[in-house]
Amino acid sequence: MSGCDKSNCGCVNTNPTDLLSSSRRNFLGGAAAVATLTLAPGITITAFGGSAKASGHHARWGLLVDVNKCKKDCNACVTACSTEHGWEDTGHPLTDAQWIRKVTLKDKKSGFEQSLPVMCQHCAEPPCVDVCPTAASFRRDDGIVLVDKHLCIGCRYCIMACPYQARSFIHEPLIDQKEYSPRGKGTVESCNLCVHRVDVGGTPACVEACSATGNGAMLFGNLNDPDSEISKRVAEYPSTQIRADLGLDPGVRYENL
């Protein structure tokens, strides 16, 4: 996507929006949280703008998962993500896209079990971005790691590099995609932290679904804002990152793990 301003652009739209220059997009985005323009029957432009506060340069969007509150038999976050973005379980787990998955851990010595969701950890130093030859994998200024669907050549080097097995390669042709979450055969995708929601001040679908179950195991917020709930929680209680030894500074943290 030439001319794409990656600090603000979600790169999430297959509509002709992608052909617009960044200035035009910013104009549309700035005019309203979501601007929709119908050019002709069947051609709709939808631009996601959002306020400077929502996707501003100082934000570092992150998630905090309280593993104690995450129920082993609950799959609400996974289902919500699947519904939101249109990926589904076709009974072929090895080739199906899985943007988020529930992982059950069992302590080898004590047998103690825990369950937690694992998705793209939105690293500050993402290996997938480092290795991507065409710069299709990129990290926005607000910490969200995305794949530019126009630049991805489907080499899968990012999948080799990701320590979290968070990325999926699309093995089959797809139909009925969500307009805010384009996907395509032969390209790589992963959790985009519901960038289309976040850019208009919303919350990722998984977090919303987790709250709706009453478990409240997931918290979304700005890690760079000391007054945000997530920052306060992280400052007050111990939390950890998966593979913290790699020094990638993931935006997803876990409590009680």
Binding site: L94, D130, T134, A135, L151, C152, I153, I170, G186
Partner: protein, 404 residues
């Protein structure tokens, strides 16, 4: 030493038959590409755990061998060994052909091969993959110039030597780049090692020379051109040394890994419990690819004879292929350790050994790449003055009779 006379290959049944046979494989490879491109990678054995499959094994093997195939030219021009100089053109042509064969497989396996232009225009310079695109293209240009200068009359020797040296340095960089594709993968137990780059260079020396020997003997056989026994014996000895270097790097890699407790699970997987990967490691890579040919080639009498050298070259190629298979597929099959010390379970098969069964389209695509390399080599030799009329010992080595 007589003046070396180069001649295009004669158009006999053997030469045309070989080109036709390779053409058939190229067509089958093209059909496989179309099939995979149309239906998606679902028709292959690859999945989200084993994202690089058999095509990548073929591609990496060919690319690694390509840089090694150039060594015969380098030994002649850079290290001044006169006997190797008459084969410099063959060496350069084979190197470019192998690289093109390997790259074809790599590119045709992309999820979006139609976006190749993106890979040429949008670069992330932190990616070793992006660097490799430049290294591969640069290699073809440099070796192309090197070949042209060799075939051109009245080229100053100093210029030829400088270009030869540049090509030699470039090939070292290229193989370093290929090895680093794996060496720089920080999260995977099987990779993440600075040893990958030098090991790939050792592999390239060994695979490249083995392929060169077989191609040279085949071409000379098809066109009834002599190939000296003493020259072949020299190649044999060199091949044994190269195979030993590969064995040394393999040993260093696994011993280092075995010393650290954190890597024991991975080492146990490759060396003991890994099923097909363990078998390919011990019987393919170590026994057939290294130990057997080293012993055969260093045998005081047999080692200098043509059948032993041909058999050794074949074994090194088969064992080398097994080695690349274990590195590429075995390395991915070993699960990522997100939670060390825990038993893990998930819908994405976390903690489980990756499942992979190569499919026919993948095999045909890979063989198509091999066929492209062989076909380009033979056609190149048919069209240009690449192969000397004679590689008899008396023709290539001024000291041959004196040495006897």
């Amino acid at each position: 030493m007589k003046r070396i006379v180069y001649r295009e290959l004669e158009g006999n049944v053997g030469v045309y038959g070989l080109i036709l046979l390779m053409g058939a494989f190229v067509l089958a490879g093209a059909g496989s590409f179309y099939y995979m491109e149309h239906f998606g990678h679902i028709v292959t054995g690859m999945n989200n755990q084993i994202v690089w499959g058999l095509p990548h094994v073929f591609a990496i093997f060919l690319i690694v061998a390509a840089s090694g195939a150039l060594n015969v030219a380098s030994i002649g021009s850079v290290f001044g060994k006169t006997a190797y100089k008459p084969m410099a053109r063959m060496s350069g042509l084979l190197a470019v052909a192998l690289l093109l064969g390997g790259l074809s497989v790599l590119v045709l396996d992309l999820g979006r091969p139609d976006r190749l232009i993106v890979a040429m225009t949008s670069y992330n310079f932190k990616s070793i993959f992006a660097w490799n695109i430049l290294l591969y293209n640069g290699f073809m240009v440099i070796v192309g110039v090197y070949l042209y200068l060799q075939m051109e009359r009245n080229v100053p020797k100093a210029l030829l030597k400088s270009v030869g040296l540049f090509a030699f340095i470039w090939r070292l960089l290229l193989t370093t780049g290929t090895g680093s594709i794996f060496g720089w993968l920080i999260a995977r137990e099987a990779y993440d090692s600075a040893l990958m780059a030098p090991m790939f260079i050792a592999m390239s020396l060994s695979f490249g020379l083995a392929i060169f020997i077989l191609v040279a003997l085949t071409v000379n056989g098809l066109t009834n051109r002599p190939f000296g026994g003493a020259l072949l014996a020299r190649f044999g000895k060199l091949l044994a040394i190269f195979a030993a270097v590969v064995l040394y790097f393999t040993l260093a890699q696994h011993l280092t890994s075995l010393y650290a407790t954190e890597h024991h699970t991975y080492e146990r997987f490759i060396l003991l419990d890994g099923g097909i990967y363990t078998q390919l490691f011990w019987f393919g890579h170590i026994l057939i690819g290294n130990i057997a040919p080293i012993f055969l080639l260093l045998h005081p009498t047999m080692g200098k004879k043509r059948p032993a050298i041909v058999l050794s070259a074949l074994m090194i190629i088969a064992g080398g292929f097994a080695q690349v298979y274990v590195i590429v597929i075995g390395g991915q099959a070993f699960p990522l350790m997100l939670f060390p010390g825990y038993e893990v379970q998930s819908s994405l098969m976390d903690g489980q050994i990756g499942q992979y069964a190569p499919s026919l389209p993948e095999l045909m695509l890979g063989l198509g790449g091999v066929a492209i390399a062989i076909a380009l080599t033979i056609v190149g030799m048919k069209v240009f003055k690449i192969v000397p009329k004679s590689l008899a010992d008396s023709a290539v080595d001024p000291h041959h009779s004196a040495a006897k």
